[in-house]
Every structure is written in structure tokens, then in C-alpha cells.
Symmetry: C2
Subunit: 293 residues, 2 copies
């Protein structure tokens, strides 16, 4: 790959930030790669692992001369972060992010950026349940989607550079309206996580003896939920707080459907159960056909 940027700054060197940093290093996409990171331990790990050229907690040092700044902290931090970063951004710099919600990012980041800075919000649909800089690996984005939600009128050259970056990471890029992104992700990601957190929480409230059995016999279905429910707590808190309307809307639909099933079980309506259970099989086949399984 040819170089895309002179200087790139990744703000927050966690699971996603470290994975993206490794891509940039691997492919030589930037002359200089710096992380702005508030946690000194993570800074030390990032430098030691050679993920970045330099790690600093000082905003001005990091942001100065940057061609690209990628926010990779929990989305709840974006407003304050942007206020700190904005005065140091050079004319023509690109600001992007990897947050799982996009309307809130447009709201929190966009208005604080100086004129002449290009804003290209992004969301790589990738990740594991692991956290921190040591959990980063460059193949994380390979074969995955990356959604970009640039506001109307965004500089085409800036969008093209972000597309090139994510394509170098092995992702297929899709440009989308931020509000549509939030609606789609509410059902594909936020609701599944909310439900997984809930069911695992329900299990942790059981009496101790029963809880041990749950762990023991978790392979019968429960286990699949615990992986999701082990995702980063602060990141997910911020996602739910920042995609409230879309999550509550889809949660309402889910609750209605669950109540209907509950009623079918109570009244022994086997035909209704079988009809639904047959219908859901088809979606699995679509996912396998779409090579997302």
C-alpha cells in the first residue's frame, strides 16, 4: 500500500485503536503514528509492543500537524475530547472515529470542529469481547464492513482517504446516513447486546447453587450470550445512552414479540411456536449465503 497520511493520531489505544494502529504500521500508511491516551499503562504497552511511534497524554503534542485524528475511546467522551482537540487541529486535517453510534457523534463532535477540518465519522463492524491495547490485531477488520457517515457536503477527497484506509484494513466500506446507521445497528448489535447482558444478569441473581449449574451446563445455549455480555462495560453504557430512541423503539418491538410467545407457551399454542421457529431458520440461511456466518 502507498502512504496515505504524514501523521496519524489515534485517540485511545484500546482493542479497536490498537488493531487499526497495527494495520497502519503493517501497510506503512503513515510516516508517523501517535496515540493520545490518558491511561499511562496503555501508553507504555502501546510503545513497548511497537503499535505506535509515540504515545502521549498531552493533547497539543499529539494533535499538532496531524493529517488524521481517529477517536477510538467510548463515545461518551467525544464531546469533551473534541473541545480539547479542536484548537490544535491544522487546516485540512481529517477527524474520524470508530464509535458504534453515529447521530450522537454528529451532534457531539461536528459543531466543535473548526472550518477547514474534514469530519468523516466511521464505524468498523468488527470487534471481540476483549479490551485493551494487547487485544489488538491487524486482521480484526479483514472481510468485515466499515460504515462511514459523512455529513452532506463533506470534502470528497477526505472521504476517499478514509475509504482507502479501511480498504487497506481489508474491510468493505459502505456510505450511509447516520440516522439509518443507528436504526440498523440498534437491531443488529445494540438490542442483541442488551438482551445478552440482561439474561446473563438474570443468571447472576440466581441462588449460588443454581448459578454454579448454569456455568456447568452453559453449553446448552447460555454460553453464546456470555461472550457478548463480556464486552466492555463503559463502551456499551455509552452506546445505549447515545442511541436511546432507536434502541427503545426496537426493544419495544422485541418485548411485544416476546410477550406473544410467552402467551403461546402459557396456553399451549404449539402451532404458533412452530411457525415462528420455522421462520427464523430462513434468516440463518441468508446470513450463511451472505458469508457473514
Amino acid at each position: 500500500m502507498a502512504k496515505l497520511f504524514d501523521k496519524v493520531v489515534i485517540v485511545g489505544i484500546g482493542h479497536i485503536g490498537a488493531s487499526l494502529a497495527r494495520v497502519i504500521k503493517r501497510d506503512g500508511l503513515a510516516d508517523r503514528l501517535v496515540t493520545l491516551e490518558s491511561n499511562p499503562e496503555h501508553r507504555a504497552v502501546a510503545v513497548e509492543l511497537g503499535i505506535v511511534d509515540a504515545a502521549t497524554g498531552i493533547v497539543a503534542d499529539a494533535i499538532q500537524d496531524a493529517d488524521l485524528v481517529v477517536l477510538a475511546t467510548p463515545v461518551g467522551t467525544f464531546a469533551d475530547l473534541t473541545a480539547e482537540i479542536a484548537p490544535h487541529l491544522k487546516n485540512g486535517a481529517i477527524v474520524s472515529d470508530v464509535g458504534s453510534v453515529k447521530m450522537a457523534v454528529l451532534r457531539d463532535v461536528g459543531p466543535l470542529l473548526p472550518a477547514g477540518v474534514h469530519f468523516v465519522p466511521g464505524h468498523p463492524i468488527a470487534g471481540t469481547e476483549h479490551s485493551g491495547p494487547t487485544a489488538g490485531f491487524p486482521e480484526l477488520f479483514q472481510g468485515r464492513w466499515c460504515i462511514l457517515t459523512p455529513p452532506a457536503g463533506t470534502d470528497e477527497g477526505a472521504i476517499k482517504k478514509m475509504v482507502a484506509l479501511w480498504e487497506a484494513a481489508g474491510s468493505t466500506v459502505e456510505i450511509m446516513e447516520a440516522s439509518y446507521h443507528d436504526q440498523v445497528l440498534a437491531i443488529t448489535s445494540h438490542l442483541p447486546h442488551l438482551i445478552a447482558y440482561t439474561i446473563v444478569g438474570t443468571a447472576t441473581d440466581l441462588e449460588t447453587s443454581l448459578q454454579q449449574e448454569v456455568v456447568k451446563f452453559s453449553a446448552s445455549g447460555f454460553r453464546d450470550f456470555t461472550r457478548i455480555a463480556a464486552s466492555d462495560p463503559v463502551m456499551w453504557r455509552d452506546i445505549f445512552l447515545n442511541n436511546r430512541e432507536a434502541v427503545l423503539e426496537v426493544l419495544q418491538r422485541f418485548t411485544e414479540d416476546l410477550t406473544a410467545l410467552q402467551r403461546a407457551i402459557r396456553w399451549g399454542e404449539g402451532d404458533k411456536l412452530e411457525e415462528l421457529f420455522s421462520r427464523t431458520r430462513a434468516i440463518r440461511r441468508s446470513i450463511i449465503d451472505a458469508r457473514q456466518a
Copy 2:
């Protein structure tokens, strides 16, 4: 392994039946292995694959002289099946099953068995989302649990033989009260399946364009639910109808917890969300420590 039985009959040569048959063949656990199967195609496949020595749809032919009869059809069929089978069972024969609920099996099968026949209900905690005889493989039970729920007073020799059979399959056997089994499985297996079926059902009701996006971006969480929601519809219909009380009880707890989370999202109570999301991480670690991940 030494031979355990002269003649074994597996009733229903689906995913689990075929997997157990392959274990019995592999280890020479029976002189003669027959399947009683109502579906002529499955009979043909089972014989062609060499999973069994013979396949028949005629009850008397199959059951005659059997030392062990394992019911491996959906649990809703057990009452009628047992009524047909019972007259042909020889004195000293063992009847077992692989059903995912156990109180209903005690209720439906036990009273119909003649005196002198030993009843050792069982439940291997194993399976995939695939169905049918071609989906069977002998390693399915390797490293998994198998729960036996023999009623009080069951012949010790019969229990020992069933333990030996499942240990040959690579499973660890646990003896448990049927009612406790149903309570544990309601949370570890039945509720997760119900919720997975519901969320995938909710997605299938979305407008077509949004549904395509759900498939496309399913890797962000949704995908993990679709595997479970692709499980056999009739088998799962019967499980919910036959473990009604335990499922409704745990579903009630789940719904309360979900409502509390919904409220926390609506009112922006980030601390409550973070507290729960941190707690659920611990259960994942327990499962990894228990080598069930």
C-alpha cells in the same frame, strides 16, 4: 470398549440419534443396532451411511429382544411412542431417552412401561443447529455433560450401564432430580433459545430493506443469535410446551430485568447500566475457567 448390550434400538435417527448410533458402532458397544424411524428417507440414509445395522418403521420388529431402547424423537411424541413400544419390551430391558425436558418424560413414559423394564431418562447437553441423520457425528458428546434423571428406586445395574454408555461417548455423567434438571435447563438452554427465536423473529418482521441490512451487518451481535434460532422447530416447540412452568418462571425474571434496563436507558442512568455490564463479565470468566467456553 467392551460390549454393553446385545441389541440396542434408537427411536428416531436424527442429529442426536445418529450421533449416538455412531458412538455405539465406533466402540462396538452393541452386537446389533437398529433404528425405529417413521421417515423412510431417514431410514434409507441411516442404512446407506452404515450408522445402524437395520432400520425399520415396524415397532414390533424393532423392539423385540432389545436390551436398550433410546427415544430420540421430539419429546411431544413420547407418550404415543411408549404406548406402542411397551407391549414389545422384554423383561429387564432398559428404556432411556435424550429429551431436553425430564419431568414431562417421567410423566409421559414412566407409567406406561411394564414392570421389569428399567427406566433411566437422560439428556446429553450437546447438539448443533443442524438436523437429520446426516448431521450426526460421534464426537458430538465428547467433553460434554450428560444428565441422567432415574426415578427413585431405579435398578442400579441399569443406571450403571447408561453411565457406561455416555462415558464411552466421552461425556461426564451427572445424576440429578428431574425437576431440578428442568429448572436448570430453563435458564441455561430454554430461555436463551426462546430469546434468540424472538429477536430473530422481530428482525424478520422488519421492512425488506432494513432486513437486508440486518443480514449484511449481522456480525455485530445478531449473528450469534441466529445460530441458536436455526435449531429444529418441532423439537423446540415440544420443549417449551413440556417445560412450561419453569420457562414461564425464568422468563418472568428476565422480563423484569429487561424492563429495569429499559427504564435505565430511558432516564439516562448510566451508572446502573455500567454496574450490570461489569457484573456479567465475571460469569464469562467462570465459564472459561470451567472449560465450557
